[in-house]
């Protein structure tokens, strides 16, 4: 009796930390990421590959900007908006930044309520995140429209180096696509949360696997990554 009780409730041995832990985790001939599920590990690895894509875009932008002999258009003036009778530099981009950060905040809290199995709050916060994301894409569409009306094209613009348009459309376009996909992803998962799929163990549509609330955290990883990329775009493209 006593022995079976011990066997059934035996806790996994505490794992080593530090460099010894890394060596143990990677050399164990099993799985390297011990307490991370495959879904979360794959999302991280996907985000790593996405990091390289955005790195390449930002690098090509850097190369274009450093190697051109024509002055680069001043983003502070290009993205200024006239409010009243005063030109406010970069104001639309600043608002977009705050909106995206807020969406990250609501997403982080949605993950938290997801693990507490609070369906309504989780879904509400995810829908709020999606709404912020949709607002962001809307403002980006406005920004693109404004610039195209002013004559910015991938091959030229009225203010300076011709590569400005190509870099701008490529980088912000790819980021906006990510935000749009994220909004769709969020709405789909929020609907499942609200319906209680993860409480009753409904099987998913594609893999026929039963989901759990970890998918909220995985969705969150993607969403925070989109915010993370914007941090770099904001600093390197708009402010530099």
């Amino acid at each position: 009796m006593a022995e079976t009780a011990l066997l059934n409730n035996v806790e996994p041995p505490a794992r080593a930390g530090g460099w010894r832990g890394i060596a143990a985790d990677w050399s164990s001939d099993q799985r390297a990421f011990k307490n991370v599920s495959w879904g979360k590990a794959m999302m991280w690895i996907f985000l790593l590959s996405d990091t390289f894509i955005f790195s390449c875009f930002l690098l090509s932008y850097m190369t274009a900007r450093m190697s051109t002999t024509v002055p680069w258009p001043n983003p502070s003036e290009v993205f200024a908006l006239r409010i009243g009778d005063k030109e406010v530099p970069l104001i639309l981009i600043a608002i977009m930044t705050f909106i995206l950060i807020s969406s990250s905040g609501t997403m982080a809290m949605a993950v938290n309520f997801g693990y507490r199995r609070d369906r309504v709050k989780t879904a509400a916060l995810m829908f709020a995140t999606a709404a912020f994301g949709a607002t962001f894409v809307g403002m980006q569409a406005f920004e693109w429209t404004k610039l195209i009306m002013e004559g910015v094209r991938p091959w030229g613009n009225p203010w300076g180096a011709a590569q400005f348009g190509a870099s701008f459309f490529m980088i912000t376009g790819f980021h906006g696509t990510h935000v749009t996909i994220g909004v769709i992803f969020l709405i789909a998962i929020a609907r499942k949360v609200l319906r209680g799929d993860f409480d009753v163990g409904t099987r998913g549509f594609f893999t026929s696997r039963k989901g759990n609330y970890e998918i909220v955290e995985i969705t969150g990883l993607y969403w925070h990554f989109v915010d993370l990329v914007w941090v770099f775009i904001f600093a390197l493209f708009y402010l530099w």
Binding site: A5, D25, V36, A41
Partner: protein
Amino acid sequence: MTNVALEAQQHSVQAHVHDSLASGTAHAKGQQHPIKLYLVVWGWLFVLSTCSYLVDYFGLQGHLRWSLILLFMVLKAGLIVAVFMHMAWERLALIYAILLPPALVLVFVAIMVFESDYTHLLRAVFFAQTS
């Protein structure tokens, strides 16, 4: 016998909890942290974004501008990855697997800086508008 077993079991559970707290690993049931933590990070992200916007608003130039932009960028990115994406609570095996490869992009950056300096030099020598 049963009492001894129970005691031993409780002891091992306590030791495990203590270990996991000490080594900062994630809790057994997903990532659970107080909401306040997220709100504080959210607030800091707002402050840092405002700071980087003010760099442009006040029109700071030169090395001060670039170093401030990069500083605020790195701080914001660090907060998002560490707290919002829970990287601070993951095991080192995952942290290094995900964070080291992007760091190598800096080598690529260095290569392209040399390359674009060279291209710029050639353009200035051969293609600059003569006035």
